[in-house]
């Protein structure tokens, strides 16, 4: 990954992360119903969280 590109991706990821963890998107999953045995809201938050972490990993660690 080009060094300039990595920096751009980080900024993009930050913006996406802020969107994932704020009102309109969170409201879509604001549901206590169980999916795979866990409430949809909990499932959403933790998978989005893991997704952001994975993306940071991808940006920093791949093709250094």
């Amino acid at each position: 990954m080009r060094s300039g590109a990595r920096e751009s991706w980080l900024v993009v990821l930050f913006v996406v992360g802020c969107l994932l963890f704020s009102y309109p998107l969170m409201e879509l999953f604001n549901d206590a119903a169980l999916l795979f045995g866990a409430p949809v809201s909990v499932l959403y938050l933790f998978s989005a969280w893991l997704g952001v972490i994975g993306a940071v990993w991808l940006i920093h660690e791949r093709r250094r």
Binding site: Y23, M26, A32, P39, V42, L50, I53, G54, H60
Partner: protein, 921 residues
């Protein structure tokens, strides 16, 4: 008995921490650091997770549902940007030998001791609730565990177990531990390797303990998460916890808390200590920016399940939700796990207390007390005395005072307040650093006065809306002050300033305090002029990546100091041994001899100041240095000049040099290429012109015979009755012109072939004399016709061999002979062929006694279609291609064709040929 066990295990655990720290320091001394890797770095940041996370998150989750999460989502999001922000903070701190966050802000705004002191006060006051939270949690968990196997928890008897106030004992115990642990070294810029190793270890312990209780609750008390969630969600009250809304946490509060924790992770003194000051390598930030969030995620996995389980298990039993983590294994009778959980909580609390007290006590000694003592002349650097010990004493006292203040806060505020609500107060306090700090590293316009006013404004609003308000609410019941405002002024209500409603107290406080803070910072900054030193520091901070590591020193100083005065100043704060070592290193680096040097130069003074800054902070170091040197004030112009010269020039000069070198190379290449291109272009244009000339000439030459052929054909066609004689004459002309035409075309093709190098050559050894005889014989008909005699004057002797294409050479000979015959006078013409040998060359001359060739024509006749003589003299007698073709052929053989002539005396064409190797005798 069980109480004694708890104490014993706790002490053993703390002893283990000491062992790890000792080991870490030893390894560092031997140059084999155990913390110099990104994993320990990320783990040491786990100091973010304190008793708040360990006990408080579950409590928070049991009332606000998912409202415990923004505290960890915020850091995850800001960690995405760490590569920009944190790296810059690390770089600045390293280059300026920053010791604390107060030092950082003070340094940025011109090493202002006022600002450093203010930041220290805010940090200490702001972190006190946080420390009280740890005391609260440890004493509460201790009280609960002490009562085992009974599961009784009554807040009122927390303080009086066995007639002792447990929280007070915990306070003193932790203070003693922090003193022993945190104030072992004087220089705070050197990495606390042992401390970092111990904190990283604590991060592992608390994570394992929390995961252990999480697994126990989920898989032992319940049949896995599915069972737990299914049972819990059957209760509508519990199901509500999994959703966002007014009863749990609304999106507004969620957003504010996320934002708040983004700032907290950057500016909490302990986070600054671990992430910035203890950073060993900027590249560790890469791994940390996903490892640390991953740590947060894992430690939070079981928070919600434990909260739900606690609500189910303790449905009919009074239990503080903040203690579910410990209460659940106790209720299940698993005493070993309960003990492990308690140790985990202890590690979470101690890690926070240790790092925060180290950071805060350093701030108090370096940025608050030392400048004060120096200004009040209680400490006089110019006098004899060891002040290193003074600094350490100040730090130790500061730790005790901070811990006691934490205890006092704990006693005077609402004991029923949840852990998280206490911690958030501290978050909001350190958020006040954000404008001055972030403004300081991204905006050169921020001034000292702007930062001061912003911090004061934000701090006052924070103090009024959060901690002050917290002292007016006991047992969860707000008093009149909160409900109706001071003196009944409703718009001054601490939780509803200007009658603002709809925000929870923390978001409300954050909004107003940051509004006041940012507003004051920006407006005052714009209204004030920065001082000289501020401008210098602003540039160093904002453009830190433009400075190379070597260009540390900007000599914004001019003055006089003796080496002796500097040396004794250093000895007083660093000790004699270290001073000696540092100065000797310096002398070696700069090839100096201290015995020869009495007057210190600017660089040495700068060096001494940086050394001192590592011990006592930038602001104090400045005051201390000022006490031993006579400073001359630099004018603004001089400083700007210096800044221009040093910072910018130095920063860019290397880049510029490289760039210039590259450009020069490029332009050289470019010039060469341009010259080549120009030459090629000229050549092309020339060729193009030649081609045009050639084509127009060729067509012209072709048209001449064509025209006559056509004209005579038309005459024959139109006059069938023409008499026989005329007819024969005309057909003869047509025939002759046709021959000329085909000859012309053949020659054009021939020339084109020769020029393109596409002609075929059958080179053999040829006897020149035989060839000349043959040529003469072939031309004899033409010569007789015109009455011209051909004479050959050839040396008798052995035959001369040349290495040529026989047909081609014959072509040349015939051409030269026919030209000579053509231009010889009719009847008395004489053509003479002679050969001569000169070294390895043979020269053949063909001479005539015709009109000769004018000097101006002698060159031109070798051009295509150019013939000698005046065109007006009549119709050309050749094609004008014979000589150019001949010249090409001779050139191919390696010889040369030329003409010598005097007008009226005939012309001599000569060509040379190299002798065949066999003739080299």
């Amino acid at each position: 008995m069980f109480g004694g066990l708890i104490l014993l295990v706790s002490l053993l655990y703390l002893g283990l921490l000491f062992a790890i720290a000792y080991y870490g320091d030893r390894r560092a001394d031997r140059g084999r650091s155990i913390i110099n890797n990104p994993y320990v770095y990320a783990l040491s940041m786990g100091v973010y997770c304190t008793a708040w996370t360990y006990y408080g998150s579950v409590g928070r989750a049991s009332s606000s549902g998912l409202g415990f999460l923004p505290i960890y989502i915020g850091p995850t999001l800001i960690a995405v940007l760490w590569w920009f922000v944190l790296r810059k903070m690390v770089r600045i701190s390293r280059m300026n030998r920053i010791t604390t966050i107060a030092d950082f802000i003070a340094s940025r705004y011109g090493k202002s001791s006022t600002l450093g002191g203010l930041v220290t006060v805010i940090a200490v006051v702001g972190v006190i609730p946080y420390i009280s939270l740890q005391l609260n949690a440890v004493s509460a968990s201790f009280t609960l565990l002490w009562g085992y196997p009974e599961l009784r928890f009554d807040p009122s008897d927390r303080f009086t177990i066995s007639g002792l106030d447990t929280a007070l004992w915990v306070t003193f115990g932790m203070a003693a531990f922090a003193i022993l642990f945190g104030t072992r070294h004087l220089d705070v810029t050197e990495h606390h390797e042992g401390l970092v190793a111990a904190i990283a270890f604590e991060s592992i312990v608390k994570l394992l303990a929390f995961l252990a209780v999480g697994f126990f609750v989920t898989f032992a008390l319940f049949n896995g998460p599915v069972d737990l969630f299914t049972q819990a969600m059957a209760d509508p009250d519990a199901a509500r916890l999994a959703t966002f809304g007014a009863e749990t946490i609304d999106y507004n509060q969620w957003a504010w808390l996320t934002f708040l924790s983004m700032l907290a992770i950057l500016f909490l003194p302990r986070q600054f200590q671990m992430a910035v000051l203890e950073n060993m390598d900027e590249n560790h930030i890469r791994k940390a920016s996903w490892l640390f969030p991953l740590y947060l995620l894992v430690i939070n996995l079981f928070v919600f399940p434990i909260a739900l389980a606690g609500l189910i298990v303790f449905r009919h039993q009074p239990m503080d939700a903040d203690l579910f983590v410990l209460g659940l294994p106790m209720a299940a009778g698993n005493e070993l796990l309960a003990l492990f959980v308690f140790i985990g909580g202890l590690s979470a609390a101690t890690s926070m207390v240790i790092v925060d007290t180290v950071a805060l006590s350093t701030m108090v000694s370096n940025d608050l007390m030392m400048p004060l003592l120096l200004k009040l002349r209680i400490v006089r650097p110019s006098e004899r005395g060891d002040y290193g010990g003074t600094l350490l004493s100040i730090r130790r006292i500061a730790i005790v005072v901070i811990m006691v203040l934490g205890y006092v806060y704990f006693r005077v505020t609402d004991t029923a307040a949840s852990l998280v609500s206490i911690g958030l107060i501290s978050f909001a306090a350190v958020a006040q650093f954000a404008p001055a700090f972030l403004g300081g590293i991204y905006w050169k316009g921020g001034t000292r006065l702007g930062a001061l006013s912003g911090l004061v404004a934000g701090f006052l609003v924070w103090g009024y809306t959060l901690p002050l308000a917290a002292t007016h609410s006991f047992g969860g019941a707000p008093d009149d002050f909160l409900l109706y405002g001071p003196w009944g002024i409703s718009w001054l209500r601490p939780h509803n300033l200007f009658n603002l409603t709809g925000l929870d107290p923390v978001s409300h406080s954050l909004f107003w305090s940051l509004l006041a803070n940012i507003g004051a910072y920006v407006i005052v900054s714009l209204l004030t002029r920065p001082s000289v030193i501020e401008q210098g520091q602003a540039s160093r901070f904002v453009n830190v990546f433009d400075y190379s590591a070597e260009s540390e020193a900007i000599f914004l100083w001019r003055g006089t100091a003796t080496v002796q005065a500097l040396r004794s100043l250093l000895e007083r704060f660093l000790g004699q041994a270290r001073t000696e070592r540092e100065l000797n290193d310096y002398a070696r680096r700069h090839s100096l001899d201290w015995t020869q040097m009495h007057q210190a130069d600017a660089e040495l003074v700068q060096f001494a100041e940086r050394l001192l800054a590592g011990v006592m902070g930038a602001a104090s170091a400045r005051v201390a240095i000022a006490s031993v040197v006579q400073e001359e004030r630099l004018s603004m112009d001089e400083v700007l000049k210096l800044l221009d010269e040093t910072s910018q020039v130095r920063a860019y000069s290397r880049q510029l040099e490289n760039r210039t070198r590259q450009l020069e190379e490029k332009s050289r290449e470019l010039e060469a290429a341009t010259a080549e291109l120009r030459a090629a272009n000229e050549r092309l244009q020339e060729l193009d012109r030649l081609k045009d000339d050639f084509i127009s000439t060729v067509t012209h030459e072709l048209r001449t015979p064509l025209t006559s052929i056509r004209a005579f054909s038309e005459i024959l066609y139109d006059n069938p009755t023409l008499d026989e004689e005329r007819r024969t004459q005309f057909v003869g002309i047509i025939l002759k012109e046709s021959e000329r035409l085909s000859r012309l075309i053949n020659q054009v093709l021939d020339l084109a072939k020769l020029e393109a190098g596409a002609a075929e050559w059958n080179t053999t050894e040829v006897d020149l004399h035989a060839l000349i005889t043959e040529a003469v014989r072939a031309s004899s008909g033409m010569a007789e016709e015109k009455g011209v005699r051909i004479l050959t004057r050839i040396d008798a002797g052995p035959p001369l061999f040349v290495w040529v294409d026989q047909d081609r050479l014959m072509q040349v000979m015939l051409n030269l002979l026919s030209n000579a015959i053509k231009f010889s006078p009719e009847g008395r013409g004489e053509v003479c062929i002679s050969t001569e040998r000169r070294d390895d060359w043979l020269i053949v001359h063909v001479a005539d006694n015709g009109v000769g060739i004018r000097p101006e024509d002698q060159k031109v006749i070798f051009d295509k279609f150019r013939q000698g003589g005046d065109r007006r003299m009549g119709k050309p007698q050749g094609t004008g291609l014979g000589l150019p073709i001949s010249a090409q052929i001779i050139a191919h053989f390696g010889g040369k064709l030329w003409v010598e002539s005097e007008p009226g005396k005939g012309a001599t064409f000569s060509f040379t040929l190299p002798l065949s190797p066999s003739d080299h005798r």
